[in-house]
């Protein structure tokens, strides 16, 4: 079945709402407007304003209300329009959602799902181009996932809703128009494991989310040069699938990490650190990171392009780890 990433998200939301009366969707313009990215288009009319609930521009209150409703027995899906605005709800996510189970001695749980768009690449300038999933992946008590494929866009939500802990879903906004084939009956997928998207033998390209299509494109370019690159999609950013990272590095002996976050103190840094700690002797060359340049993302296209990971940069990084 030919479909889009956006439609996969929409179908996942619709199915979740139809399947479980405890599930409701809330966020800014998710209802009548149909969602800033049209991910909930039609759901308000089909399911009503209680289940598909428009909120005021009060990120802290409606994210906190989602956490409270989860404590109260519901299964809320909270949409934050973009991760840029999630900073206004950081207190609720960090101090409440992430802490309550442990701090209450296991008495309370917070089965909330918080979705948000992430990433740059649309000339939206510095305040609308953040990739903050790495910040959230720092926090114990949260699960953080980044669907990079149609199947994950369709299948991660039901698994996240079934999880008793808070799950944050980061959807890279550039992926919403991604087209592809989805098998009939595609459903829930696991939110524990990384996945090899392209097997290879010469170098491991570890990435996730919006950088996955770029990394796969780079692998294609490399194949034409006779370089066999393995692409590992992390999928789950917390807890990281460390075994999968070590396994691919053990196989290829070389590592390039592609991450749209800024380079310093990034997810890419965590991946490299894990390999340094636990896979050091597998390595035949120093690992290389392809991340965003350490600037606020600028508006003009040529500068924005230069600031983000791109296929040629990934290809150059691979040549560097292969040939020094």
């Amino acid at each position: 079945m030919k479909t889009t990433y956006r439609e996969c998200v929409r179908q996942a939301l619709r199915e979740a709402l139809l399947r479980d009366p405890r599930v409701f969707l809330m966020g800014e313009d998710v209802g009548r407007y149909g969602g800033c990215y049209a991910c909930s288009k039609g759901l308000h009319d089909e399911l009503g304003p209680e289940r598909v609930r428009d909120t005021p521009l009060s990120e802290s209150a409606f994210v906190g209300a989602g956490i409270g409703a989860a404590l109260g027995g519901m299964r809320p899906i909270v949409e934050i329009m973009t991760c840029n605005f999630s900073l206004l709800a950081l207190d609720q996510i960090l101090n409440n959602a992430a802490t309550l189970r442990h701090m209450s001695g296991g008495q309370f749980e917070v089965p909330v799902v918080i979705r948000m768009a992430t990433g740059a690449g649309r000339q939206l300038a510095a305040q609308h181009s953040h990739s903050l999933e790495g910040w959230y992946a720092h926090i114990p008590g949260l699960r953080v996932v980044a669907p990079g494929t149609l199947a994950d866009a369709r299948g991660m939500l039901p698994t996240a809703l079934a999880d008793p802990d808070p799950v944050l879903i980061f959807e890279n906004a550039l992926l919403y128009n991604l087209e592809g084939e989805l098998p009939e009956g595609a459903g829930a997928v696991d939110i524990d494991h990384a996945c090899v998207r392209r097997p290879g033998s010469d170098v491991s390209l570890v990435t996730y989310g919006g950088s996955l299509p770029k990394t796969l494109a780079a692998a294609e370019v490399l194949a034409a040069e006779g370089i066999s690159a393995e692409v590992l999609d992390l999928r789950v950013l917390r807890p990281l699938d460390g075994a999968a990272i070590l396994a691919t590095v053990d196989k290829t002996k070389r590592l390039v990490v592609v991450d749209e976050g800024w380079r310093s103190v990034s997810l890419a840094a965590e991946v490299v650190a894990r390999v340094a700690e636990e896979g050091f002797f597998s390595l035949d060359a120093p690992p290389v990171r392809v991340c965003s340049e350490e600037v606020p993302i600028p508006y003009p296209k040529h500068l924005e392009d230069a600031a983000l990971p791109q296929v040629p940069k990934i290809v150059r990084a691979v040549r560097q780890v292969l040939h020094g």
Binding site: P56, A69, S104, R143
Partner: protein, 320 residues
């Protein structure tokens, strides 16, 4: 105002005295280094928790602040469990993991113990939203201080609760100071009832030193909320007799101001109203002190959570 029966009066007096004696002992135990971390005493403000809680039903929810020993005790969290929590013992209300600022109790639907000023308000809105969606007639009582009124979360939460007509009782304990900053030094509009009312929900000011007034105001507010009339806001004007925390030298207020408020001690006020003699008061006090003694013994005898359990309850399930 309802008539104050002697039975109700004595019950309220006992509850306030339980909180007072418990906290006086906590202050001693802090000096003895049995209790560590931050310790924020409620002494002087007991009439609020003692007045509010009897007006709630067991299935209602409570969201409190980091100055919440009184709320926990008045809500019915066992004193033993609260004291053990102060010690950080495994037998504590939160298994010792929260301490003074983070008392949780699922059995009484006591949702903490929130140490970020204003952070509990969105949670209370969400608990009430869950009740509304599940067609429950439960009420969520949310305590916070005057300092929280300066936070964005206060304004966002009152707006959301009023917009969606959610069953929340907002209880602002106005003790006139946000730690050391007086209300008039922090807020352009010091009329907190006017602020709350601007979100189109009924709001009223109550003498927070009069436990009977607190109870009566809570009763009518809770009844309206349970009738489906949406949220209510009460400002309870009170005063903290002790320092903000154990690290506070109290340089921001005068001794005479403290003395003026101490003359309106809620326990003394109610005792005078009940005309309770020395012997009866001493007998009540002895009962309360023996409960406190027992809680200290319970906490002393408690155990430390094994270090091997440090990372349990971070997630419900471990990665496979």
């Amino acid at each position: 105002m309802s008539e104050l029966t002697r039975e109700r009066g004595l019950r309220l007096l006992r509850e306030m005295l339980r909180i007072r004696r418990f906290e006086e002992r906590c202050a001693e135990l802090y000096q003895a280094e049995k209790i560590r971390g931050f310790l924020h005493l409620y002494i002087g403000e007991e009439a609020i928790a003692a007045g509010v809680m009897p007006e709630l039903l067991p299935d209602d929810a409570v969201v409190a602040t980091y100055r919440e020993h009184g709320h926990a005790l008045a809500r019915g969290v066992a004193m033993n469990a609260v004291m053990a929590e102060m010690y950080g013992k495994w037998e504590g209300a939160s298994r010792g993991r929260g301490g003074s600022m983070h008392i949780f109790d699922a059995a009484t639907r006591f949702y903490g113990g929130n140490a970020i000023v204003g952070g509990g308000l969105p949670l209370a809105v969400g608990l009430a939203l869950a009740d509304a969606l599940q067609k429950q007639s439960r009420v969520t009582a949310c305590f916070f201080g005057d300092g929280a009124v300066a936070e964005g979360e206060f304004h966002e939460s009152l707006n959301l609760a009023a917009l969606w007509k959610l069953p929340v009782l907002f209880l602002c304990e106005n003790n006139l100071y946000a730690m050391g900053t007086a209300l008039e030094r922090a807020q352009s509009q010091v009329d907190l009832v006017a602020k709350a009312a601007s979100y189109a929900l009924p709001a009223a000011r109550v003498d927070g030193m009069d436990v009977v007034d607190v109870g009566d105001a809570t009763r009518s507010a809770v009844a309206a909320i349970r009738r489906g009339e949406g949220p209510r806001f009460l400002e309870l004007v009170t005063y903290r007799f002790r320092a903000h925390s154990m690290f506070d030298a109290e340089l921001y207020r005068t001794k005479s101001e403290v003395a003026t408020w101490r003359a309106r001690d809620p326990i003394a006020l109610l005792r005078a109203r009940l005309d309770l003699g020395e012997a009866a008061m001493a007998a009540l006090d002895a009962e309360v002190v023996s409960e406190v003694d027992a809680s200290v013994a319970f906490a002393e005898a408690g155990s430390w959570e094994p270090v091997e359990r440090l990372t349990t309850d971070v997630y419900a399930r471990r990665p496979p």
